[in-house]
Assembly symmetry: C2
Homo-oligomer: 737 residues x 2
């Protein structure tokens, strides 16, 4: 049904097929379930395959990383040169000014051109794949701002990441969501798994292999390009090859006694990760209040964050003492400007400042320094501790500003720092060198915040090229995820719910078992006759925002009122636009011939025809349309007494947008309502049934007990409310929210 024209008796129309149906969130505050409209883009971008695009993507992603390195690099070089001349104040000013400028640029373009581009974009993409299309998240200006803005933001030494924006970019240009991660980290397989584990709402085995196909092309191209550029002919391309943070140590070996410290790392990661998510939530709420005040506040906030960041990055190294360079260090010592270990900063020649090596650096270099294996003596525990605390809070306070920034890299840095710290404290009792501890630390914090397992595991493998670490990484991820799950949810889901996307969960809430679908169908039901008066149609379309309408045949066209099917708003509008009307009410069998498939093809986001735009004369208003040929005659239906939980299973499992509710007995109208995504949202349901609110808050043990009691009580098909009453009477304790 690729052509979008969905004939009647056979086949699954696009928006009713397995692929995620789309729901367009209007900016209006109303919760009215009728506030939905078809969007035009392919509901499941992960499906699309386009070499050209992939190619551009690769170029862009890698080109982007390089640009960041260069911008940040120049900044560091200039600053460091000033410091060589002992012009520290000037150095700070240049450093802070550069950062402020870049931040300002990023925030300004975001705030003025594309506010949708703010943040990592992963929640948006995830919601999109679930069927929720936030306005303009895939528009061209978003894409543009996303690319330019993230470059500026990341170069401005803010503790923010570029992975998320890359994922969004990938999705934006209709490439696979995995393309971003694949190129961001040069972790192709990890990219695929990331897309599937974190993003995809509907699993198809085809998905896996297509995503793999696309990322394979990314990987091969990337490999080929970096290969071409080994000669350095093309400056912006890197020489790193596929593995960014290579920690391969030939004779790595660890024994069971290395497991306890790893377990410890897992627990720390779990606690730190859930704390991170918790604080991030709070900060986002706070920032939201500020940002809502207006653009100027957005910019002010960003400026403050930038200045504080610059000051910390520039100021903190001063508290660290200067160490003499270790004799026979594998790397140059001290290094000046740009990347590298053993930063000279303010130290005398032959000495290095350990904190500067971490702070006065791009995040990528900081990670490299922490992961590097031959530098066990470089850092003092205290410095690492300072670095950890600073990173932890900086990343939390940086994410909320209105710029295209991600979380991935900051989390890795933070995790790596305490990983290294644990390594330092354990010292020689373990076979693992501190670099490996840093890797495990990064894994643990990623597990604690993102709560992914397989994809993170593979990404880390692809990053570090150290397969022997696999069991330990798995162990750490397991523990941190398990611990963190005890406290709160995955960070992207948190942001998603914070943004108010109606994300449709797979599992039904327990209280949904206590409700029937008829308990939640809300709003007035608008029905069309099989052969309808144009005037009525126009009136209905103008007065409601519904996107699907049941079509009912009534005598004389049937002996009793019978549900014929479901027709989509967009198709009705097309009919009105084409003005293929009938003078008298009659079947219009060959109406289809007057349309081409393209007439019913989905239209791009924002390009849908509006009913307001259609001009109709008085005479036309008096004419008729035969809707039968354009109605989907096989809509999915549930009986009004169906339990809400099972209706959700159907709605979510099949990926529906409209679910018709039909009466149990046949006296009345053959359809009693339409269920849409909003009708399954807890807010909506609890709004309709406040009594559930408390019930829902019963702690699990007690609730399951009660539910069992109720099940025993109303097994004989009694209504549902008595059982709710039973809940009420149960004298249940609240969670205290």
């Amino acid at each position: 049904m690729a052509n979008g024209f969905t004939p009647v008796s056979n086949g699954v129309p696009d928006e009713e097929s397995i692929t995620a149906p789309l729901l367009h969130l209007r900016r209006s505050t109303s919760n009215n379930t009728s506030q939905i409209a078809i969007v035009g883009s392919n509901p499941c971008p992960i499906e699309s395959l386009d070499y050209e695009i992939m190619e551009n993507d690769v170029f862009k992603q890698d080109w982007r990383s390089r640009t960041i390195e260069n911008i940040a690099g120049i900044k560091f070089v200039v600053t460091s040169n000033r410091m060589l001349e002992n012009k520290y104040a000037e150095a700070y000013l240049i450093f802070a000014a550069a950062n402020l400028g870049l931040t300002l640029f990023a925030v300004t373009i975001t705030a003025f051109i594309a506010p949708e581009a703010a943040g990592s974009g992963i929640p948006e993409v995830k919601a999109y794949l679930n069927g929720v299309d936030a306005p303009a998240i895939f528009s061209f200006r978003t894409l543009l701002v996303k690319i330019v803005g993230s470059i500026a933001a990341v170069s401005s030494s803010l503790n923010v990441g570029k992975a998320g924006p890359m994922v969004h970019t990938g999705a934006c240009i209709a490439a696979l969501t995995s393309a971003g991660i694949a190129a961001a980290f040069r972790a192709p397989v990890g990219g695929v798994l990331f897309a599937l584990e974190e993003m995809a709402s509907w699993w198809r085995s085809a998905l896996l292999w297509r995503a793999f196909f696309a990322t394979a092309i990314v990987a091969i191209l990337l490999r080929g390009l970096t290969d071409l550029c080994l000669s350095g002919k093309c400056g912006l391309f890197g020489t790193g090859g596929l593995i960014i943070y290579d920690v391969t140590s030939v004779n790595i070996s660890y024994h069971l006694r290395d497991v306890p410290p790893v377990l410890l790392l897992g627990v720390i990661g779990g606690i730190a990760g859930s704390l991170y998510n918790f604080l991030l939530g709070k900060v986002l709420r706070l920032y939201n209040l500020i940002n809502e005040k207006g653009t100027i506040y957005k910019i002010l906030l960003a400026c403050i964050v930038s200045i504080v960041t610059s000051s910390l990055l520039f100021g903190l190294p001063w508290i660290a003492p200067c160490h003499p360079c270790p004799p026979g260090a594998t790397e140059p010592c001290p290094t000046i400007g740009r990347s590298g270990n053993y930063k000279k900063f303010q130290c005398p020649p032959g000495h290095y400042n350990e904190l500067a090596s971490l702070f006065f650096n791009t995040n990528d270099d900081a990670i490299k320094n922490l992961f590097s294996k031959d530098t066990d003596t470089e850092f003092h525990p205290l410095s690492i501790l300072i670095f950890f605390i600073t990173c932890f809070f900086l990343s939390i306070f940086s994410y909320g500003i209105v710029a295209p920034i991600g979380l991935f890299i900051p989390v890795i840095v933070t995790g790596a720092s305490y990983g290294r710290l644990v390594g330092l404290l354990i010292g020689s009792t373990s076979n693992l060198n501190h670099g490996l501890f840093a890797v495990l630390g990064a894994a643990s914090l990623l597990g604690g915040t993102m709560r992914m397992t397989v994809s993170l595991c593979v990404i880390l493998l692809e990053l570090t090229n150290n397969l022997l670490l696999l069991p330990l990484i798995m162990l750490v991820l397991l523990i941190s995820k398990t611990v963190a799950d005890a406290f709160n949810g995955n960070v992207y889901d948190q942001i998603m719910s914070f943004k108010g996307f109606p994300y449709l969960e797979t599992h039904a809430e327990p209280y949904m078992r206590q409700l029937t679908v008829s308990d939640v169908v809300a709003g007035p039901l608008r029905v069309f006759n099989g052969i309808e008066l144009v005037g009525n149609i126009v009136h209905v379309l103008r007065t409601t925002g519904h996107n699907g309408f049941p079509v009912v045949d009534e005598p004389p066209y049937s002996d009793a009122p019978v549900l014929y099917g479901l027709i989509l708003r967009s198709h009705v509008i097309t009919l009105l636009k084409k003005k293929c009307f009938l003078e008298s009410p009659r079947l219009d069998v060959d109406a289809v011939e007057r349309f081409s498939a393209s007439d019913f093809a989905k239209q791009g986001l924002g390009n849908q025809d509006k009913i307001e735009e259609i001009e109709l004369s008085e005479e036309e208003m008096e004419m008729y349309v035969d809707l039968h040929p354009f109605t989907n005659a096989s809509p999915y239906t549930v009986v009004e007494t169906m339990s809400l939980a099972k209706a959700l299973t159907l709605f979510r499992g099949v990926g529906l947008r409209h679910l018709l509710v039909v009466p149990k007995t046949s006296e009345r109208l053959p359809v009693v309502g339409i269920l849409t995504r909003h009708d399954f949202m807890p807010q909506h349901i609890l709004g309709l049934h406040p009594m559930l609110e408390r019930t829902w808050k019963v702690d699990l043990g007690e609730r399951s007990l009660k539910i069992k009691k109720i099940e025993a009580r109303n097994v004989c098909g009694s209504e549902v409310y008595p059982s709710l009453a039973a809940f009420e009477g149960g004298g249940v304790r609240g969670w205290g929210s």
Copy 2:
């Protein structure tokens, strides 16, 4: 609803929930849709998590590999010693006899004790996860035979693998299906992905993380145990650590000019792979005819295969010349008996027989030899060619014998051989050494037969510990899969359809769009009244094998006949067994109190109560039962005019076992039929509508054209048959089957 007791108005009964519903295939040849019965085991073993089991599993898997090595080793040692004494005939006899004995043992126990244990078991597990439960595939004797038999079979020098049986073993002991692969190859992440990509029919994100959890435990335990055993205290455990075929070469580098040979490998792999699947199918059919003749034929067949194999393995090396050992070879040369490169075989001291190094070895060692990187000069192209051809056909002709044997390893060996061959032929024009070509060859043939992408990629990475190969492996897998898909399907699917499992595909066949559900509902519909006479119930249960019955309320209990719900055979039988009858027809509100949840818990496979076993007196037959409390009042329903394709989407998407068909208009009985898995099987549908047979065989271009025409013709809701007639009239060409 873990307790299996499924109350009426709320909640999803087990066998109707998302997890794969189970369908028990009777051995009877009848295709009657009523030939189904509930089985007791957890429909989705991938769900279960059991540390204890995992642990045993690890022990067993690793222990198994070791045992095989030892048995085979002893055999080779003894044989080689004879050869040292130039007693070649004796050596051959011992070799052949040992192989024959082991094969006989494997086949005999399989044929007599557990025929279900024959083959790799992966198709069975895959079908099981799709909802099809072949008889006794998870019984204890199957498990036993699977373990012992696969050890014997693999040790008997047959060109068969142990991975498949391990997967089955893993499933057997209710461990995760991934556990097998994870331990078989020590590729934990690959194991998880294998389970998901190849096995799982219903994707839940929880699945990924649970599978990961379990395999992580496998990995960590395995790592710990091999660690403990480095000292060699526990003989049966290996010292290999996690990576079996380590091909890490420190300074691996390849350039764009290495890509063409890799592309070539991919194409070869695709063609060879599809040819492999094709031939395997033919051979299986042939063998099936022989095996059906009786146990003695099964054994004879196996003996012939074993003797031929032995003769080839022992005979072919003689045609290879003896080469002098290369000076300064990294490995001992020549080696005698057991594993190792540079086999002496019949050669004079200081010389080695290249073919013997491949043939006269366990498969694992052959792979090691082919993958090893410093032996570019060891093999002559001709020998490799001979080895390739022999492996290719031996593995095809070995798989069909009645023993627990797999395909994974033989495919790797075969692929590695031609990979190495390509490497040899290309020679020094490529940077890649022959070992890496062998790895890529293995990848290509795996991709061509199994058609998996991500999981194979990760498994190979974990096997070879060479991340730098990643882009090339991805490339090879893509090409081989794409090429092979052009010819036929994945090998496991082929075997599955050959075994006749009613596997439910996700996608609907095009002709299903031309049918409504009412076109396929077959068989007499048996309906119970809400309050039913015991006699009637017993009669219905005795005369049909149906597993679910619609419950209809009729006056006086409702003003019109109305569908109340669906009741399961097993629950009805429980009611009869408990004999909670009523003298007079009335509602029995507190019937539930007389039952405990456990009464309705699912019973183990084979333990279900049979209606025949229930003794009922004449009086009891005259009494009544109120079915309401035990009926699922929220069954999923479709209208009879629903297109079959969309009904399948619902059935498959939600994972149903019964789907009630309700009438469009309400004159007649409120239910017109029940759809079960069988009603969606092409055989069944094409049996009912032979005219479709030809239609279906129209080549795609023409069909899509026709379908469009028909869509245009019956958009106005005309019946379906005219459109089929239109097909008929279309004068369509057959495919020639």
